[in-house]
Symmetry: C2
Subunit: 503 residues, 2 copies
């Protein structure tokens, strides 16, 4: 996110930083503030830190925030960047930039890397990642869950935290994690330290966020429903008070669940539900193409049924992002590993396989329109996984790119927002659309960014040579444009748009 | 539906009936009415006939209705019953009774069996069944589709109908049926009869209803969105005019689709979507039970997300009724048979298998609570497939009944509305709850009828002996009641209610 280089801190700097953190915490506590330590300055943790630091009650800041990130080569830079009042995220929401600058001015945040900070906390918010490693497309059942890294993070906190401090976990985890993994780790660490847990057990709460990348990022944390649960009544009350000070609970009342496992299940269930509904409509996409139907129109005709059918998904190119591609795998892992159900959540995991294979369908359409891919330049329009954002995590563009490469074609990717694809920095993403389209034998439009929808048929006809193939994988081209392109000799195909052959 | 016996009409009576139909049609046409012939007086056709006959524009009836049903031993009785002003359906909607009596008084309907009636029609509405024959639980892919019966019905109309009459099909059919099956049959019949079809082809339209059994039956036909499509602009306009006169199109505007295949797909897609969402949550039901979670609470906590998640299904006992149990099979059949896609809609059909197996889960819960089923009386509360209705078509109660029987148990079924289970008249359904509960070793509550929800813990404790097992398969018992029942020595289990073991 930044091109500057920061050298990693040495032991001496770390020792001084630890001293500084202690002094800061003492000082802020004297001002009557609670110390909130956020573990993990990633996509959610960084913004959560900023929102907590920005929080005011009756004109006063109730919290001082220390954001902790590990000092690795890849992510240490976030710490100095936050500390000089900048956002570590290149986000579409202007509010994020304002908030990081504001909390710097208020001097109410310290980004750091020293784990001693956990000892100062009244509340530790756990926002580290819990990643899934897929072993290949269509093999979601075999994916690895990096529970070891997560356990290590929890242990780091448990070794330092005060027994009366609240540990509030926001990371998406396999259901049962707090009860069967986190709580035993905390108890063991307390025992090793000779610390007596509060009556009723360690204070651990779980509450997941529903963050949505895009221009409403901050709103999607503050003005959004939250479920929560805790391991004891004391932890529950602390969590309730804290969340109520951060979330607009008048508009979005908190939902208390009976156990942390229930709250953990809420997150993976709601994302599995979306993933399932995407997989479902994908199967009908092929059916609609076989039958010569515009599935977008059929789905629209069904979505008029408000309340029961209005969230039916439209056909599309693929599923990306951090949550929908992996949360079902966490649930399946919990079912098999924690609750010993041999076949886990077979049906739901199959949806992940269907979704991971979605981009292959677009590739097949391309092949049907231009069988001879080898040696041809093929433009791919779109690298992010969502309309008008720059977020490229698990972008399905990668799968199409690899398929075209494997067939000997020369893919050339354009995106107006994203400059690279996370984890696939070898793929060149170009910002100049004309450059990408020039002399391409085929164009595959994969993200419904506004600028693609606004392209005129004339513009495309000028830049894309007649006889070449245009695949619309996301309902980007209107029927009028398709008719003009077909008339000018282009082969046009569309995901879920079987009616094109009759246009 | 009636205990009276009616003798089937002989040839002489049929000859006279044909004469009578002709006279009636001539007479009504002279009054300026259009003749609407409804083919099939089943669940939808009978009520549709009545609604069309009851229709008024500027205080005048625009249509005279002839309802046609085959004179079989099992269903001939509907004809005399309708003709004397009664409803052939035992429906919860009082409006149905009023409407049948009113159209009798208006003398605006004739139920009959003579196929010559199709020759009189300005509009023929096809409302015959298109059934699916399953070969066993979990084998939905192998199910038979009775397309032959449907083709026969279409042929009967095509042999008689005027070439300028509109054939409006409402039967749920495999997508592609109008284009690839109905239209060729009509063209062939016209050719055989030496009849020239209108320019643009025969006038065939497709529009599916979204009828919902229960006390809003008539409303669910008239005040409900309709999609429609037709084989030609002429047919489209006729269909639009007719539907606009029947449906409240101000509140529920018609949705025109580009082709009859698209309209046909709408119906099976929307029902497949519901079936998929039920199958999805069923898998999580078992997970929630393993994890000791109340899944109903978790789903409620997610449904606060209006517009995207508020239609998430709750756990339940099983899926019944006419549509959700079969419509996906029609779609899969079309994909494989009409559009030659070898593996059809595999993923969606698997949902039907999951749903057909749902009652087995309740049986497994029962066994876990009372391993020794043989020789025991087991009360099953609920025979219909939906709350507070008497509709027992494809009731999942049958699967539980059969499982208990197979295990040597003695199932005893209660329902406050249904007196028998359609197609399984061997199962005795008793109306007296106390009789059913008396000396039962276990009680399985499978339908959330209001009267079951209103049962007090005291009532159950008095009638169901301590130590016996109570399975709540539909969130019928509150936690308070469960606590009382557990305290009094009952074993209580619940579908999706893993938290019961902690109560």
């Amino acid at each position: 996110m930044t091109n500057e280089r920061f050298s990693l801190p040495d032991d001496e700097i770390t020792r001084r930083e630890a001293q500084k953190i202690k002094e800061l915490a003492d000082e802020e506590r004297k001002k009557g503030k609670k110390i909130v330590v956020v573990q993990g300055l990633g996509f959610v943790g960084a913004v959560m830190s900023a929102i907590v630091a920005d929080c005011e009650i009756d004109g006063k800041a109730p919290y001082y925030v220390i954001g902790i990130n590990r000092p690795t080569a890849g992510s240490y830079w976030k710490i100095p960047v936050i500390n000089r009042g900048e956002s570590p995220l290149k986000a579409e929401d202007p509010e994020i930039w304002k908030i990081f600058s504001r909390i710097r001015q208020k001097d109410n945040i310290r980004a750091s890397w020293v784990e001693d900070a956990y000892a100062e906390a009244d509340i530790v918010i756990v926002d580290v990642n819990l990643d899934v490693v897929k072993k290949g497309v269509g093999r979601a059942q075999e994916a690895g869950v990096e529970i070891g890294n997560f356990e290590k993070a929890i242990r780091a906190v448990a070794r330092k935290m005060r027994p009366d401090a609240l540990m509030l976990i926001e990371t998406t985890v396999p259901p049962g994690t707090v009860e069967y993994i986190v709580k035993p780790i905390v108890l063991e660490a307390f025992r090793e330290r000779g610390v007596v847990p509060p009556e009723g057990g360690p204070l651990i709460a779980y509450s997941y966020e529903r963050v949505m990348p895009g221009d409403q990022y901050v709103v999607s944390i503050k003005k959004m429903w939250r479920s929560y649960a805790a391991t004891s009544p004391g932890a529950l009350e602390q969590a309730r008070q804290f969340l109520s000070s951060i979330i607009d609970t008048e508009g979005f009342p908190l939902y208390r669940l009976e156990s942390t496992t229930a709250a953990e299940m809420g997150k993976v269930l709601e994302n599995s539900y979306r993933a399932m509904n995407i997989a479902f409509i994908h199967e009908w996409t092929r059916f609609a193409e076989d039958a010569g139907i515009n599935l977008f129109e059929v789905v629209k005709s069904i979505r008029v049924r408000k309340g029961t059918h209005d969230n039916m998904m439209f056909p599309g190119f693929g599923v990306g992002g951090y949550c929908l591609t992996k949360d079902t795998i966490l649930a399946d892992w919990a079912s098999r590993t924690i609750f010993h159900r041999k076949d886990g959540l077979k049906f739901s995991v199959e949806a992940i396989n269907v979704n991971d294979l979605m981009p292959r369908h677009t590739f097949d359409l391309l092949k049907s329109g231009m069988p001879d891919i080898a040696g041809r330049k093929i433009a791919i329009l779109g690298a992010s996984y969502r309309r008008d954002v720059d977020d490229t995590r698990n972008s399905p563009t990668v799968a199409l790119y690899d398929d075209i490469r494997a067939a000997g074609g020369v893919p050339c990717v354009h995106d107006p927002y994203a400059a690279t694809i996370v984890g696939r920095e070898d793929i060149v993403v170009m910002p100049d659309l004309e450059e990408v389209l020039k002399s391409a034998s085929a164009v595959v439009m994969v993200v419904n960014h506004r600028i693609y929808q606004e392209l005129s048929a004339g513009f495309l006809m000028n830049l894309v040579q007649p006889g070449s193939c245009i695949v619309d994988a996301f309902d980007i081209l209107t029927d009028d444009k398709i008719v003009r392109l077909k008339k000018s000799g282009h082969v046009v195909l569309g995901v879920g748009k079987g009616h094109i052959r009759f246009l």
